[in-house]
């Protein structure tokens, strides 16, 4: 029984069958990659996991509890954090403030009316934020406006914000899309480091095979909305069906 169990999920947009009978099981403490050509339904699947979309049929269980019908913030409070394709951070706030927000969400839940205390005096929160920034080597950028960070740093910050919440499952939506080779390798190293330091399950959607084969313990290939194969990286590499899905019949 995996930490994330997707069973018989279907999602239709008008005449388009975006997801057809998807079954997926992500084992705890592994890196599970979902790959597939454009339009295979990877992002739709991810959106079904985080509460942005509700599947037409099927079930999505996280840690034995259904996530269906829950809002994104409820699902996050259950222990699923998400990193977006283009980094989603609080651009108007400083790096420090960006880090403090998930710390409050972790400690105080989805809403707490604390309008009279001062952020600066919440010792545990401040320490937690600084500690996490140190871990991702961004402590020197503490008081910078987060919108003025480089793209790589924004990604790093978003990742740190997610990790600060100590999620049990981290979902990554094409974390290296549009990145130069060097940045991609940095991201791979960062993810490896993250994985090494803690017990965390990572589910990654990716285009870049280099990233997938460097990180994944398990790979699911999606094609036209349905899982084609699920196997270890070594077996996926040589699988003719996968080559066909990616390169077409002629290959």
């Amino acid at each position: 029984m995996g930490i994330l169990e997707v069973k018989g999920v279907n999602k239709r947009f008008g005449g388009l069958q975006a997801l057809g009978d998807v079954n997926l099981s992500v084992e705890e403490n592994t890196v599970h990659a979902i790959i597939g050509p454009n339009g295979a339904g990877k992002s739709t699947l991810l959106n079904c996991l985080v509460g942005k979309l509700i599947p037409d049929t099927g079930s999505v269980m996280f840690d034995g509890r259904s996530v269906l019908g829950r809002t994104p913030y409820e699902i996050n409070q259950m222990g699923i954090s998400r990193v977006f394709q283009t980094p989603e951070i609080f651009g108007d706030l400083t790096v420090f403030e960006n880090m403090v927000i998930p710390a409050f969400a972790k400690r105080d839940g989805a809403f707490r009316m604390h309008a009279f205390e001062s952020v600066a005096r919440e010792q545990d929160i401040v320490e937690r934020a600084q500690q996490m920034l140190e871990e991702v080597n961004m402590l020197d950028k503490l008081h910078m406006h987060s919108a003025s960070l480089s793209r790589g740093d924004k990604r790093r910050l978003e990742m740190a914000m997610c990790l600060l919440q100590e999620p049990r499952l981290l979902l990554l939506d094409e974390p290296t899309a549009g990145m130069a080779r060097a940045d991609t390798n940095n991201t791979i190293d960062l993810l490896k480091e993250i994985k090494q330091k803690r017990d965390i399950t990572i589910c990654i959607i990716e285009h870049d095979m280099h990233v997938v084969f460097s990180l994944a313990d398990r790979i699911t290939v999606l094609a036209q909305g349905s899982p084609l194969v699920e196997d270890s990286p070594e077996n996926i590499r040589g699988n003719p069906k996968v080559r066909e899905a990616y390169l077409g019949e002629a290959a």
Partner: protein, 407 residues
């Protein structure tokens, strides 16, 4: 001090000084000089500075922090005024119960309007609040003033009559709004120093003290985790949602708090002059507080207070300049030129003061998007740069640090 850092403490001290010394500061010209008409240190206007300052501080908690632009905040101001006058009619002229009820009623009213309006964001939110405010105006103006059920007294406005119950009214208490016998309209001190006259009004000082209290509360809110969440709502709601935080109760709480500030301002307006009219709820009044906040600097602490003072000053001082005054000003010019200048300036003063305000507003928004506060910052920076010229910052290699919210 008071749980604030040194910078905020300084800000509070500056505001306290400005508020408490206003009768001196706003009367810089001797009474007999030709510039005396620019003096703003008379009770009625000073009360308005403080009251609309409170209104704008509250509006800024919603608009400045969350970015939700309400176009119906005057409804809460009006509701506060009505509640206060009803307290005068039923209980007594004491302002304390009146102000408390004004805040409570405005708070309840904002729960209702906020709950519905906050289901939408952006322009739709603005339109919903505008619709609610205009509905409130219509209710106050006509619907709730029929002979069978007269809650607002329609066009005439709600006021206190001799045959009202006033069950707590006692012999010896003044027959005007008062604070335990201390009449709001009285002056406790009138100073005449050389050619200057300074008036110290009971009502103004009540307003000023309340302004300081709510300004202090606003500073605390800005620096609190709650304030941070509100700024996060403005910055990126998507990220907030995926960080396990529910934006809805945060925005609703901000809406209610700012509604209560507006109710407090409305209650104080009635406490200074026991009359509540429907025109206080009209959309132009809602628009005015938006102008005040943007003009002063939305999202800053001191900006809304400055904006409120600026607009109220123009409304009261520029509107009083008539052709006679203009002729005096330009008397030094030859006759033809004098008439010509009066002809040119005439549309911008007196009844045309809105024109001047409009031009100033355009200039500020175009050249100082951060409002008057940004203007102040630029001047301060200019002086600082002159102080140490060798240490020019290099924007390429030293990325700009975020300015503190309060600046």
């Amino acid at each position: 001090m008071l749980g604030l850092n040194s910078k905020d403490t300084m800000l509070l001290i500056v505001v306290a000084f400005l508020a408490l010394a206003a009768p001196f500061l706003l009367n810089p010209f001797p009474t007999n000089s030709s510039l005396a008409q620019f003096n703003a240190g008379y009770p009625d206007l000073m009360q308005r500075f403080a009251i609309f300052g409170i209104f704008a501080i509250g509006f800024n908690i919603l608009f400045g922090l969350t970015g939700y632009l309400s176009f119906g905040h005057a409804a809460f101001l009006g509701v506060g005024s009505y509640a206060a006058v009803w307290m005068f009619k039923l209980l007594s002229y004491n302002v304390i119960p009146a102000i408390i009820l004004a805040v409570i009623v405005a708070g309840l009213f904002s729960v209702l309007i906020g709950y519905v309006s906050l289901r939408r964001s952006g322009i739709y939110f603005s339109i919903l609040t505008l619709a609610f405010a205009q509905m409130s105006f219509a209710l106050a103006y006509s619907v709730l003033s029929n002979p069978k059920f007269n809650l607002t007294n329609g066009e005439t406005g709600l006021q206190v009559y001799g045959d009202d119950p006033q069950i707590l009214h006692r012999e010896g208490l003044p027959d005007v709004p008062h604070l335990f016998g201390w009449a709001m309209r009285d002056n406790f001190l009138e100073l005449e120093v050389a050619g200057w006259e300074f008036t110290f009004n009971n009502g103004y000082y009540l307003c000023a003290v309340i302004l300081l209290v709510v300004f202090y509360l606003a500073i605390r809110l800005f620096r609190s985790p709650f304030g941070l969440m509100l700024r996060a709502v403005k910055s990126n709601q998507q990220r907030l949602n995926y960080t396990g935080l529910n934006p809805k109760p945060y925005t609703l709480a901000a809406f209610i708090i700012s509604g209560m500030y507006a109710g407090l301002a409305g209650g104080l307006l009635a406490a200074m002059d026991p009359l509540a009219g429907a025109e206080r709820m009209q959309w132009t009044a809602s628009g005015e507080v938006v102008l005040m906040t943007i003009l002063g600097g939305a999202g800053t602490l001191i900006g809304p207070v400055l904006g409120a003072g600026f607009i109220k000053y123009f409304e009261n001082i520029f509107s009083k300049i008539n052709d006679n005054v203009l002729h005096q000003w330009f008397a030094f010019l030859p006759d033809g030129m004098e008439d010509f200048m009066v002809f040119i300036v005439h549309p911008f003063v007196g009844k045309g003061w809105h024109l001047t305000l409009g031009i100033l507003f355009m200039l500020v928004v175009t050249f100082l998007p951060g409002g008057l506060v940004e203007g102040g910052q630029r001047i301060a920076r200019l002086f600082r740069r002159r102080g140490k010229k060798t240490d020019t910052p290099d924007p390429e290699h030293h990325p700009k640090e975020t300015p503190h919210v309060a600046e």
